[in-house]
Symmetry: C2
Subunit: 338 residues, 2 copies
């Protein structure tokens, strides 16, 4: 009989925590035991896993005895506070927060891109920012073939990136607007229903917000390409759960769209959706629930054979979070498909 | 007493036709008489203008006797069919369709950019594509100051660009999705509620759709810059009436964001919305109903003093259509503010 693993999820009741459970069921991840953890206010609730109700315990230092894999998805502060204890208890921590991503001693991994970096881990592995993960899956195969010098990317990010409360706000605000009532922003700083706005993270000195700076730094780290130029604009749109990205690449060598399509057609984690005659390209409703990232609208920059444009949609909660984390665990136990 | 003008509107019952009436009221355009025209199926209806009901007549060759300004907003086919008769009848035609925009003998005008081209008109003036008009207002002041070599632009286009029926579809589909019903695309080829998709115009040989090619060609024509590189990606989003655009410019000379802000602050037709500390930037709900185009999120491309990024929102039905058309007429009668 093959081995089974004791899994802990810190943040089990959150949007990503819930997706982690669904992905492990879907992938038949060999989880022998589940320890569901959350902060004080969720203790006493239960989460469903493989048809059973699992009680939610308190996230604390001594909650990780015997745990093989601890998935953290409870924010950077809690990761910083409790992940070290999980590592000391012998668990491999796969952290979905930004806490350790840029730590040089911590591998930051999208398996399709840099699964090799997992060999270096010291008990802690960082899961990238959702927008960075989705971008990287789509452009890595092109980078390998033709070298990317510069990425100009504008995002169309769903409400799910801000958690379950933000998704509920998109729903309730949409009802309000449709009924002629005023939209009342709570989870977001601005109206999200039938509107869009610059990503609601702090603007740094360089004029870019935190989400944008994550896209720059994390892409460079995963690609081992510290010189790669990334120019991001991160925008929140009234979509529930998949992020989309309009991308223009500047390559080191010319690449025809046909060649790019061929490469992407066989790239792991990518589904090519590029039917110009039917005007069918990646869309968030079709990416939602998919493990693969949809890539299409592939075309050359007018007059520039080194310029390649594409459009990407990927499920923010799956490849942008839960699925990538489970996939990292699959790589470590040797059942990965990537 | 100052002169008043006989106005005709071809397509008076459509989304843009209705906005033309509202803008003329708002601007107290000196309209002495209104002739409202539409195709067969709208004849017999009335439109409201300055508190009076005006009957809708049939759009036909002999409908333009005595008309001073004929605004056409009934699609390219009808413009091609009836605009020549209006010109022959002595009217100045301001055409909102794509029929004559790239005709070298027809001025294509955004008053803030190239009002001077109006002097060349031979009875017919073209109103640009909405995405091109909004883009041009935002980037022209930068072009004048520092020369734009290349524009990379990704759009976030509202349903209004596809007319009143598309706006109604966004509303009804949103209700359907919120009630758990299947979204049924009719006006659009794909679900628009809580989704987004590549602009639903035909993809040309070069891989770009018609909307994108219009942005390229029309921007070059209005800027008198046939060599300017424009790399557009046009995306439809679930927003009712304002278009937004994420823009990256490559300039001929370096320009600091502070300088760009100063220039835009005093640029005609532009309202600077660029408050990083409050995370407040252009948004479609704030651009809706505004004559000005909102510009903000101004920042340098990392490491490139010739790279300037910005985000733009403008009312598609106003600056992208009706207001620009009325503004052209204001220029011709000498009451323009631009």
């Amino acid at each position: 009989m093959s081995r089974s693993y004791h899994i802990a999820i810190a943040g089990a009741t959150g949007a990503v925590g819930q997706e982690l459970l669904r992905v492990m069921e879907r992938r038949r991840f060999p989880a022998g035991k589940l320890t569901a953890l959350a902060s004080e206010r969720s203790v006493g609730r239960t989460v469903e896993f493989r048809g059973e109700k699992v009680p939610v315990g308190l996230l604390r230092d001594d909650a990780f005895a015997g745990v093989d894999f601890a998935f953290f998805s409870a924010g950077a502060t809690r990761s910083r506070q409790y992940a070290p204890a999980a590592v000391r208890a012998g668990a491999v921590v796969i952290d979905n927060s930004s806490a350790f991503r840029m730590d040089t001693s911590v591998p930051l991994v999208v398996p399709e891109v840099n699964a090799g970096d997992l060999a270096e881990h010291k008990g802690l592995i960082a899961n990238p920012n959702c927008s960075a993960a989705i971008l990287c899956v789509g452009i890595w195969p092109i980078h390998r073939a033709a070298g990317i010098r510069r990425v100009v990317v504008s995002t169309y990010q769903s409400a799910s990136g801000a958690g379950a409360r933000a998704m509920a706000e998109l729903e309730s605000q949409s009802r309000d607007v449709l009924e002629g009532r005023q939209a009342k922003p709570e989870a977001f700083p601005h109206q999200i229903a039938f509107n869009l706005f610059s990503h609601n993270t702090r603007i740094a000195e360089n004029g870019y917000n935190e989400e944008e700076n994550k896209m720059v730094e994390e892409t460079r780290k995963m690609f081992h390409a510290p010189e790669m130029v990334v120019v991001p604009t991160c925008i929140r749109v009234p979509v529930f759960r998949a992020h989309s990205e309009s991308v223009l690449l500047e390559l080191e060598r010319p690449m025809r769209p046909e060649e790019a399509r061929e490469i992407l057609e066989s790239a792991p984690g990518v589904r090519l959706v590029d039917d110009a005659s039917a005007n069918r390209f990646p869309m968030p409703v079709e990416a939602s629930g998919e493990l693969d990232v949809l890539v299409g609208r592939i075309r050359q920059e007018p007059g520039n054979p080194r310029g390649l444009a594409m459009f990407i949609s990927g499920d923010q909660l799956l490849k942008g979070a839960a699925w990538n984390a489970v996939q990292i665990a699959e790589c470590l136990i040797g059942t990965a498909r990537a």
